[in-house]
């Protein structure tokens, strides 16, 4: 690549999302997670370990804060000072929010984390130099760094266990950053099939591993460009717009009776994950 080429085409490379002049063309992958359905059971998180070759680090490293769970289930207590948590706990599945204007991307010196044309924050393990700047700048702290060489660490993947590894996903080596990819290998497979058949990926054709496992169907995933997809309908019904940092409905007097929201929208990250508020019965 010549410098002239670089200069001429730079504007294309640095084209960020969301923008009005260049909307997503075929796909914009997005999620909706219903917190009223989510029971905090952790099945999604285990599914992510199984699908994405995530190492189990053991107690000592977990204690050092070096756990690798791409999907973590956070448990919050109501802060009302009551004697008992008599409205239960609140669970929140948290993984990379696939921000449209991802602060992790701009700071990466190597360009190892990028926005794909499908609106997903990709992570290129081979390209990563391990500066961890991306993690430093991620507001949700959902990036996980390979502090050790897990493939060769005792009792992470003993020989027998390596046979479980998913060959569609690389096993990361020491010194690289990783995080939820929206199960990119599944999207790619579905896209290839669709392309061979001369069509677009159909709604429901690709499921993320977490969505697939979730016993309460709390997670839905799909293509926001396709207005007929479940996710697009959910976003539309909840009046959450991808490229807004303040949703029109929130500006309404007296709030809204819709449940959709995105976390820390005010940071203008334009996350691709919409959550639906947990609900608690007022009559009891």
């Amino acid at each position: 690549m010549s410098v002239t080429n670089l200069l001429e085409n730079w504007s294309q490379f640095r084209h960020g999302h969301p923008v009005d002049d260049k909307p997503h063309e075929e796909y914009k992958w997005a999620m909706a997670i219903d917190l009223d359905a989510c029971t905090g059971c952790n099945a999604c998180s285990v599914a992510c370990y199984a699908e994405n070759n995530i190492p189990v680090v053991g107690k000592e490293k977990f204690n050092a804060g070096q756990q690798m769970h791409w999907m973590r289930i956070e448990r919050y207590w109501p802060e009302d000072g009551r004697e008992f948590a008599d409205q239960g706990a609140q669970f929140l599945p948290m993984m990379c929010q696939q921000c449209e204007a991802a602060p992790c991307e701009t700071v990466c010196p190597a360009g190892a984390t990028n926005h794909t044309a499908d609106g997903v924050n990709s992570q290129i393990y081979n390209r990563c130099v391990g500066s961890r700047y991306c993690s430093a700048n991620c507001p949700f702290k959902v990036r996980y760094f390979n502090w050790y060489d897990y493939p060769s660490t005792d009792n992470v993947w003993p020989a027998e266990m390596t046979q479980q590894l998913n060959p569609d996903v690389s096993v990361r080596s020491k010194g690289v950053m990783e995080k939820c990819t929206f199960c990119v290998q599944r999207m790619t497979a579905a896209k290839n099939t669709a392309r061979n058949e001369g069509r677009l990926v159909r709604d429901g054709e690709v499921q993320t591993a977490c969505q697939q496992a979730c016993p309460t169907n709390a997670i839905s995933f799909g293509n926001l460009v396709d207005p007929e997809s479940k996710v697009a309908k959910q976003w539309a019904h909840q009046q959450v717009e991808l490229s807004k940092e303040v949703q029109a409905k929130d500006a309404q007097e007296g709030g809204t009776d819709l449940r959709g929201y995105r976390i820390m929208e005010e940071l203008r990250l334009y996350p691709s994950v919409m959550y639906l508020e947990r609900v608690r019965e007022s009559a009891i």
């Binding site: 199984a50 053991g58 107690k59 756990q67 207590w77 008992f84 948590a85 609140q90």
Partner: protein, 736 residues
């Protein structure tokens, strides 16, 4: 624009992937001997291995007894991932974390790989011929009633063979043991509804009141209930279902309740009658027998006994009266007492009063072949076995699928009594505590390598026969399937009867195919029928629903006054059954150890849950190593302050504290079974799990608890992260 061309780059990529994978799997199948490598060519791969392409095979989850159907993703002959099989009405394509960890049970490096014969303190590897011959030899001259077979819950064709084997040995001693089974509730259901496990229609209920049934976590059929729960929450057109959970220690289900009610341990039945009384006051007409019993349970008294406010009771009654149908469930927390049966009976009355029977409590499907229906496990069986061992009556004991040395309550002294049995044969996947106490260990195929059938206890829509089939070739040449072992043992006794069956597979196939017309395969040729059965992973049995016999009656209901203070052991111990570890058999699956406990977020350890008030009284802070002492034992573990527990109770999760079972289980945490007193439910003789009283002392040591929760301790610090709204603030109708 779709680019339809498959360009060279893509081609090379695909080629590269496939190539890399063939190379990888080639490594797996390469044996290195004296430096000579034998490389297996994939020019003619096995038919199930399409290089680079994932193929799916259906089977049945063996991680718990719920019997979810699984679909294993297999590539290059290796099973990679377990997913839910959508054709099963039980789990409808979903799978819990425990179920998914099945691959780690299979690939576990600590599996037993060859038959082991005790030689002093060591196990000596022997051949299968020798092992089976030895069993035959040891059984010579032993009377039938000196032989016993201990198992967990069993069903399907393994159960048939097991039964036949015992019969051949002239023994009636089949003990089915399940340390954490809802056995008291089963008995109470039988009395109240005429069936042990009715179908609970969460999806039809508007209100669910659960007395400590952790149906979203570890109770009966959690994946199924979770799905129904989701439907119940959505309701029909925005009428969202309301969940009230009443228990002394918050379970995962409690954490999801609209109202979680902390109740004084053991007073669940009193509260149930109190609610009936309040319903009466609210104008619901009660049957005479019920009214006669409930009238003594006025709000004031019940409130005093249970610690639940009168206002709360009346609110609950109002809700139950207004929204029907509802569903009331008695679970583990209610049954774990001396009067557990009575608690469960009182709770069942509530269903009768509310008219739920027949609406949200339905008759389960009948299993047309009783010989393959499940024999559920309970706790009294291990007590009975223990007694006969203690009397020296047993000479030979077989054990399969249970680990009583780990799970039997300390007070039974099971391990000591086991020594009195002269020959103990343990069917084992790993060297767990019981296998280590055996004289002969028979190494089993993993659940993903073995053949079998299973009929779950909790059936949905119709009865189903679940197929268990190998998802890949055996990892270790020296292991055998349970059915194969039983068949071999049977052949020692009844050679003629079984001579046609070369192995368990042929037995199974012929047993299923023989009945094809009853299994919906009438007219199909054998191979097609069998092929379809395997590919489906289950057979739906012809529907024939039984009927409930609503016998729920207040007669004979006697609820004791709340337990008195025990000054020596002031606190109630509530051993917690967690979704991941259950009775501890899965503690060696690293995903489960590293998957944080949903409520405390603790990993890789045990802990002692205390209410902050109790902790403050005792001067305990988070991370203090405390000594918990019961009349039967004592353990030391880290304290965790928890707002979801009654101040009179402490809770320790079950499942950890192994002294064996492999690298990921051994030495992790403490074993709460070792604290349990031998107190039983009066009506059923079942061990009352929550009746152990304990005291707590500080040891002066403190640790940093290893957990996922950060220093903010589950506070959102005023930020809008996990947002909650009350029903009057949201409009759910019309949601997608």
């Amino acid at each position: 624009m779709i680019e339809n061309g498959f360009n060279r780059r893509d081609f090379l990529k695909v080629l590269g992937w496939g190539g890399a994978v063939v190379a990888l799997s080639g490594c797996g199948n390469t044996s290195v001997q004296d430096g000579a490598e034998i490389v297996t060519s994939y020019v003619e791969p096995p038919e199930y291995a399409l290089p680079g392409i994932g193929v799916y095979f259906n089977s049945t989850c063996a991680q718990c007894d719920a019997g979810c159907s699984i679909t294993g993703r297999v590539r290059e002959g290796r099973v990679l991932k377990l997913e839910g099989n959508a054709s099963s009405a039980i789990n409808r394509g979903k799978l819990c974390g425990l179920g998914q960890a099945g691959v780690q049970a299979h690939y576990n490096p600590d599996r037993v790989r060859e038959p082991l014969l005790r030689n002093g303190d060591k196990g000596e590897a022997i051949t299968w011929d020798k092992a089976l011959g030895l069993i035959n030899e040891k059984l010579n001259g032993v009377k039938g009633d000196e032989i016993a077979f201990l198992t967990g819950a069993v069903s399907g064709h393994v159960k048939v063979l097991l039964k036949n084997y015992l019969e051949a040995l002239g023994s009636k001693n089949h003990y089915a043991y399940d340390a954490v089974a809802p056995s008291v509730v089963r008995a109470a259901n039988k009395k109240a509804y005429g069936v042990e496990m009715p179908r609970l229609r969460l999806d039809k209920a508007q209100v669910v009141v659960s007395f400590g049934a952790d149906f979203l976590g570890a109770w009966v059929s959690p994946v199924h209930f979770s799905q129904e729960y989701a439907q119940f929450r959505k309701g029909s057109d925005g009428a969202r279902g309301v969940l009230v959970q009443i228990e002394s220690k918050m379970t995962l289900t409690g954490a999801n309740a609209d109202r979680w009610i902390a109740i004084r341990p053991g007073t669940e039945g009193i509260l149930a009658l109190g609610v009936i009384n309040a319903l009466d006051a609210a104008g619901l007409s009660l049957p005479a027998d019920v009214a006669a019993v409930s009238k003594a349970y006025n709000a004031e008294r019940v409130s005093k006994d249970t610690g639940v406010s009168a206002e709360q009771i009346s609110k609950l009654a109002t809700l139950l009266k207004a929204r029907t149908p509802s569903l009331v469930i008695a679970g583990g927390a209610a049954e774990g007492y001396k009067h557990g049966s009575q608690n469960a009976a009182a709770i069942a009355l509530l269903n009768r009063v509310l008219g739920n029977i027949g609406k949200t409590i339905e008759a389960p499907a009948n299993v047309p072949f009783p010989q393959v229906a499940v024999t559920t496990g309970n706790r009294s069986s291990v007590q009975a076995l223990n007694d006969s061992m203690a009397n020296g009556k047993l000479k030979v004991l077989f054990s399969y699928g249970v680990n009583p040395v780990f799970t039997a309550p300390a007070a039974l002294k099971f391990q000591d009594n086991l020594k009195k049995v002269s020959f103990k044969v343990v069917f084992a996947n790993y060297l767990d505590e019981t296998a280590l106490a055996a004289d002969l260990v028979l190494p089993l195929d993993s659940a993903l390598e073995d053949w079998g059938t299973a009929v779950p206890e909790y059936l949905v829509e119709a009865a189903q026969l679940n197929i268990q089939q190998p998802l890949m070739e055996k990892l270790h040449a020296g292991t055998r399937g349970t059915g194969d072992i039983l068949l071999a043992l049977l052949k020692q006794r009844r050679a003629n009867e079984y001579k046609d069956y070369e192995d368990f597979y042929s037995y199974l196939r012929s047993a299923v195919v023989k009945n094809k017309s009853a299994l919906g395969g009438a007219g199909a040729d054998d191979d097609t029928f069998w092929g379809e059965t395997l590919s489906e992973g289950l057979v739906k049995l012809p529907a024939s629903n039984g009927a409930l016999s609503a016998k729920s009656s207040a007669a004979g209901l006697v609820l004791p006054a709340p337990a008195e203070e025990d000054s020596a052991y002031p606190l109630h111990l509530i051993p917690a059954v967690t979704a991941n570890l259950r009775d501890g058999r899965h503690a060696n699956q690293p995903w489960l150890q590293e998957s944080p406990d949903p409520l405390t977020t603790i990993v890789w350890d045990s802990w002692v849950e205390l209410h902050p008030k109790t902790a403050a009284k005792l001067g305990i802070v988070e991370g203090d190593i405390v000594e918990v002492t019961s009349r039967s034992g004592s353990v030391k573990a880290q304290a965790y302050l928890f707002p979801g527990i009654h101040p009179d109770a402490v809770s320790i999760p079950l499942g950890n504290g192994h002294t064996a079972l492999g690298r990921w289980a051994k030495g992790v945490g403490i074993n709460a079974f070792s604290l349990l007193d031998q107190v039983v439910d009066k009506d059923t003789g079942e061990l009352a799990l929550n009746e152990t009283r304990v005291k707590i002392g500080k040891t002066g040591k403190r640790v940093m608890i290893v957990k996922d929760e950060g220093a903010a301790g589950g506070s959102q610090a005023g930020k809008k992260i996990a947002v909650s709204a009350s029903t009057d603030e949201v409009e759910l109708s019309g949601e997608v």
